[in-house]
């Protein structure tokens, strides 16, 4: 399990870095009045977004939804990234990372020099899956304390789907 730490750091840092760049280091990226606003990125995804196109168009045509979505996504990236690196609620954080990695599939076709976005997305999906399944935060992470004190815990003990999503 110790050998998984580099993967936990890599996946965590990808999200933490992405979120920090938008929300903290260059907040103009989340300002719709700024030339740096990242909403323009979503426009770039449109031509080959496939089944995601209607959702993208709906988001882009509603400025409040657009800004709210991008802001929430950025902060979620920070939380998920930080939790993965520190090993806090790692399985839940890795599940979030998995959803976000799969969620940028509309951008997978973008890669003017190589298959950039797809390679990043595919590796993050696989990495998040491994971190989620192996409960990697229980070694070299704060989850070791949680596990020792509370044992194995799921999001819900009763609801059928949620009982499969473990917290740490």
């Amino acid at each position: 399990m110790e050998y998984l730490w580099p993967l936990r750091f890599a996946v965590g840092w990808m999200f933490l870095d992405g979120g920090l760049r938008k929300a903290v280091l260059k907040p103009e990226k989340l300002n719709p009045l700024s030339a740096s606003f990242v909403g323009g990125k979503l426009v770039n995804f449109l031509p080959h977004a496939g089944p995601f196109k209607p959702f993208l168009l709906m988001t882009l045509e509603n400025r409040v939804l657009d800004v709210t979505f991008l802001t929430a996504f950025s902060y979620l990236e920070i939380v998920v990234g930080l939790f993965l690196i520190l090993g806090v609620l790692t399985r839940l954080a890795a599940f979030g990372a998995l959803l976000m990695s799969a969620g940028f599939a509309p951008a997978y076709w973008l890669g003017s020099t190589c298959e950039d976005e797809w390679q990043i997305g595919a590796l993050l999906v696989a990495g998040s899956l491994v971190l989620m399944l192996t409960a990697s935060g229980r070694t070299w992470g704060f989850d070791s304390l949680l596990y020792r004190r509370f044992g194995d815990r799921a999001l819900s003990r009763r609801l059928p789907l949620l009982k499969w999503i473990k917290l740490w």
Partner: protein, 167 residues
């Protein structure tokens, strides 16, 4: 014969199938890299004309062009540096500075963000990937009624041709 598998093996197999399916499926969808033909839509720009009309005005022609870029890199907009209008007996080239001078308005589509369609002296029409705009040009010459070909030139790619009728 009954095969007993540990739960961890079953879960492992299920998620291995999900991971392999996702990677191969999305790779095929985005780049055709499983069974081909190989594609990469973000290599070269592809400008499409979704609407064109030409209406005579008091001192020329009002040309309306809806342009979008559906392929190419996301870092830089596609450029239409030259436009040719041609019929069987006549033709005219409009270079980038003429395109800029004759364009009076650029209407942005509702989904365009801060980097919308634009025009300038050096690149002509600039269309960011995925955005769409309507360029309204006041051409200082009249087009006789009839059918014309409009040819848009983008560096490094094949020109785009569409027909339109001038009323």
């Amino acid at each position: 014969m009954v095969i007993h598998m540990e739960k961890v093996v079953i879960v492992g197999i299920v998620f291995a199938i999900i991971a392999v399916g996702w990677i191969l499926g999305t790779g095929q969808w985005a780049y055709g890299n499983v069974v081909g033909p190989l594609v990469n839509y973000s290599k070269l720009p592809k400008v499409e004309v979704t609407y064109v009309s030409a209406i005579p005005t008091a001192n020329g022609t009002a040309l309306r062009l809806n342009l979008t870029d559906v392929d190419g890199p996301d870092a830089y907009p596609a450029s239409v540096t030259m436009v040719e209008i041609v019929n069987s007996t006549w033709h005219v080239f409009l270079n980038s500075s003429q395109l800029a001078n004759y364009t009076v308005t650029v209407y942005q589509s509702p989904w365009n963000e801060n980097k919308g369609d634009a025009v300038n002296w050096y690149s002509g029409f600039e269309i960011p990937l995925g955005s769409q705009g309507q360029f309204v040009l006041n051409l200082p010459f009249k087009l006789s009624p009839g059918v014309y070909e409009l040819i848009l030139y983008t560096p490094a790619v094949k020109p785009v041709e569409v027909s339109f009728t001038s009323s």
